[in-house]
């Protein structure tokens, strides 16, 4: 179907030319070698800080009761401003990967700097079983499955509950009535079968779908029967902004005992998080 609306399509056509596939059939030793090297280069690695490794010498899976994964500038900005800033959190790990669009993050020896795109994992100091993962780098389609497998392999499955916050644009939201303007930004949720808690917003209606890292995490949790919920925020602003960030507030209501939200983060912090748009949008000012 040439719908062009919301279909998961990464290439010009979903039908690969027959001849392209014949080439793969006739792969020789050198091709296989190149293929292996490319695969190796694209591998996803999870790194833990010295403290975590020292406290866990036998390399067992880490105990984690709640994991919050934020994908996109607004979701990560929300966590930075409202959560990470208020309580005492420390950086405990990061995920490194290489692909065509995130070349800079492949430095396995060093965590990404605060302003660099990357995937960073934080842990609460008082309650180390609560973790946050902020993902701001591009993860290629072939790396999504591996990303979830590797990150979740480090965590104990028992007692784990996952919350995913993810950004999206209103243009990708399908509804029989015209939705632009008035209602946005708004939240929609998707949950795995194991998730039984009440959800503070409407569920994502058919025929809307979600792709990318949130989809990979939710699929993994569904298969492993881990309770997980995704909050997708549809916004009509293309740059990170404070109104969209605030929309995520109800998403963490079920974690209110463990994760304290800063009721009103300082303007300075919000300004820092949204300043990215300034440099690019000064063309007409």
């Amino acid at each position: 179907m040439a719908t062009f609306f919301g279909e998961i399509l990464s290439v010009y056509s979903r039908a690969v030319e027959e001849d392209d596939q014949d080439d793969i059939e006739e792969e020789n030793e050198e091709d296989a070698q190149i293929r292996r090297e490319v695969e190796e280069k694209r591998e996803v690695h999870v790194h833990w800080s010295v403290e975590v490794l020292q406290s866990n010498p036998s390399q067992e899976t880490l105990h984690c009761s709640d994991l919050v994964i934020a994908v996109g500038a607004n979701a990560t900005g929300f966590l930075s401003a409202y959560v990470l800033n208020s309580g005492s959190w420390s950086q405990v790990g990061w995920v490194s990967l290489w692909n065509e669009r995130s070349r800079g993050t492949s430095r396995p020896t060093r965590a990404p700097l605060p302003e660099e795109p990357g995937c960073v994992i934080y842990r609460q100091d008082q309650c180390p079983s609560v973790m946050i993962c902020q993902s701001t780098c591009y993860i290629a389609e072939d790396q999504l499955f591996q990303w979830t497998e590797k990150v979740f392999a480090c965590l104990q499955k028992r007692g784990l509950s996952v919350t995913v916050l993810s950004d999206s644009t209103v243009a990708e939201y399908k509804a029989p009535n015209y939705v632009y303007g008035s209602g946005s930004p708004f939240l929609r949720a998707l949950k795995t079968s194991a998730h039984k808690d009440k959800i503070p917003c409407p569920l994502l209606e058919q025929p809307n779908i979600v792709a990318g890292l949130p989809a990979a995490v939710l699929s993994h949790c569904q298969i492993q029967r881990i309770p997980a919920v995704l909050y997708q925020c549809y916004s009509d602003v293309i740059y990170p902004d404070s109104v969209t960030m605030e929309t995520y507030k109800p998403a963490l209501s079920s974690l209110s005992k463990l994760v304290k939200l800063d009721p009103s983060p300082s303007a300075e912090i919000l300004q820092k998080l949204t300043k990215i748009s300034d440099a690019q949008s000064n063309l007409y000012t």
Binding site: A2, R14, A15, D142, F145, P176, N177, Q206, I209, V210
Partner: protein, 260 residues
């Protein structure tokens, strides 16, 4: 890898498996949607693999608000015990570098599950037909040697047309005749794999172009129904298929009122 929804995995011994090939116009996938939706097939498991692009949504076949909140993933298996039918629905493209491993995975699963036969619903670019293919029906079939004997009779009765082999170098008299399914995705590879693995498989395909492929899906599913009798035909001669709610808004959201 197949992962059952229930604790006791279902047995597919003697079942017929219907699966789409992700191909031009998504015709196979749309046809599989029609079968699952019309027969109201319950989901029995997920097909969890790194070969497909991840994707999630709510229940695409919801009939009421109660069953709408059910997470569905990029590949799922639906089954009906009383007619021994299983449908594998694929909702995302295959990652280009893993096409081969995906085919291997499917072949291995068909073998270990003990399906008695497999039907692949597929499509091929209409613009690449040759002169013989331009005339008459646009529906074709292929049978693997393992299914040939069993199905030959019924196919003859139905007066179906087998997919023509085309010459590798058109215009040269003695050039090699080969199987050619442009735009068919894994169809050809899967078919040749099943031939060499001695798996009973049929490929049903239609020639089509990208666009609104809903009519193509109806044509292909009726073609399958002529052979497999999944849905009883009405007095008018055609079966009643139920369109799933996930087919709504195929061409976008509501129109902004301000444009008028």
């Amino acid at each position: 890898m197949f992962i059952a929804t229930e604790d006791t995995p279902p047995s597919f011994k003697g079942y017929t498996l219907i699966m789409p090939a992700v191909s031009v116009g998504n015709v196979g996938q749309l046809a599989a949607d029609l079968i699952i939706s019309t027969l109201n097939m319950p989901r029995v498991g997920h097909f969890h693999t790194d070969c497909l692009i991840p994707m999630v949504g709510n229940n695409p076949y919801a009939t009421s608000s109660e069953d709408a909140a059910e997470l569905s993933t990029n590949a799922e298996v639906y089954a009906l015990n009383d007619i021994k039918l299983a449908v594998l629905q694929i909702r995302a493209p295959i990652i280009q570098t893993r096409v081969r491993s995906f085919r291997k995975l499917i072949v291995a699963w068909i073998k270990t599950s003990g399906f008695s036969r497999t039907v692949v619903l597929s499509s091929s670019h209409a613009y690449q037909r040759d002169d013989r293919q331009l005339l008459g029906t646009s529906l074709r079939y292929l049978l693997t040697p393992a299914l040939q004997k069993e199905a030959e009779e019924s196919v003859k009765e139905l007066d179906w047309r087998e997919l023509e082999r085309v010459s590798a170098f058109p215009g040269i008299a003695e050039s090699e005749q080969r199987l050619y399914i442009p735009g068919g995705g894994i169809t050809k590879g899967l078919y040749t794999d099943c031939c060499s693995e001695n798996i009973a498989m049929a490929v049903l395909l239609t020639f089509c172009s990208e666009g609104d492929n809903v009519p193509d899906a109806f044509a292909l599913v009726s073609y399958l129904n002529d052979w497999h009798r999944l849905v009883e035909k009405q007095t008018g001669g055609s079966a009643q298929w139920r369109v799933p709610p996930s087919w709504s808004l195929l061409f976008g959201s509501g129109i902004p009122p301000a444009i008028f």
